[in-house]
């Protein structure tokens, strides 16, 4: 019954964008999530950890995060998510908000 953790790394050769400051976005409401993004030397890669009550969607998480990292060209970043049944659309929205906050603050 314990919470489910999904962890993976994303390494794109095109990643060039880094963030300067750690950022926190979102509230773990129902069908929502929060995300921490922190700069971290990962040889250009992005590492992800998701904690969620939902099981069986590990591949979907990977695809959504791939899409996000691809479109932003993010690199050298640690992403941590607390999820509470957010849909893929909400996940992308929160990630984009976090990215925007991390790159403009």
């Amino acid at each position: 019954m314990a919470l489910h953790t999904v962890e993976f790394d994303i390494k794109l050769n095109t990643g060039t964008i880094t963030i300067d400051v750690p950022t926190h976005t979102g509230v773990v409401g129902s069908s929502d999530m929060e995300v921490l993004m922190e700069p971290k030397d990962l040889e250009g890669g992005v590492s992800v950890r998701i904690v969620t009550p939902v099981t069986g969607f590990d591949d979907l998480w990977k695809r959504v995060l791939d899409k996000f990292v691809n479109e932003t060209a993010l690199s050298d970043t640690r992403i941590e998510i607390n999820d509470n049944n957010a849909t893929p659309a909400v996940v992308l929205l929160r990630l984009r908000q976090a990215f925007s906050q991390a790159t403009t603050d």
Partner: protein
Amino acid sequence: MSKWNDLQEHSFLESNARDRALGIVDDGTFTELAGPFDRLSSPHLELLGDAVAFDDGLVSGVGRIGKTPVFVVSQEGRFIGGSIGEVGGAKMANTIKLAIDFHDKLVADYPDLSEEEKPVLVISFETGGVRLHESNAGLLAHAEVMDLFQKARGKVPVISLIGSKVGCFGGMGFVAAATDVIIMSEFGRLGLTGPEVIEQEMGKEEFDSSDRALVFRTTGGRHKYIIGDANFLVADTIAAFREKVAELAPLPVAAFEEMRRVGSPETVERQVRGVALAAEMHPQDARDVWAKAGNDDPASLTDMPLAAFLGQVKRLSV
């Protein structure tokens, strides 16, 4: 425009806990303590397989308004109804403890310390009280908060802000009642027993919890202002709450004692007179009490604009 400036005109009702905390104090002065990067989430929720939050649904920290250090607790209603568990409870209690200790240190270190340089504590409530997933720890944390409020008396004034979606109920309802001063918006709700439980106890004929207007008349900001449970009623913006806090923050602690509704033999006697009135009237509806307070057309008080309401409403005196 900075985020802080942008926040000021936000609806307090719609704002999350962190935005309320940031916006209440001066721009750029807020330091969060035990914030999301400390990743102090609830081990009990994890064990039960329920979603966790990096801040456990409670923002705690310190900022400044003018010369006044302002300790802040802000509850997040969207995370399990703003409920209090072990971590959030410890954050709330320890914020009060830090404020008291900081007060004592400043008084010791600065012989010329002025009233407005002494710390205050602001709590933005949005909670139904104890978190059932870790109920025993939540309950014990409530008791610690009440104890610390009494320890703060004469030192650190405690200001309540109530204007968020969930309202302020359960154990946190009497925690709020025990603070020095309560600022509400008309969308805030304050009580002990939530509407569903009253319906369950008394029957739907007596109290229909799905009747939103009835629920607001019973525990909403306008009623609480009339009955004297809320000291101030302000507009639904972060700026309006902030302005009232800024006005109160420099006041000497004695001025806060005068705003108390309970906490002394004198205030208890005043409330005893209120209870006698309750026994005598047995109001079917809060409007009966509004009429008793001298409002000739109580029904009209519900929908008139806030400024008009504040201009003409008569408050209950017992």
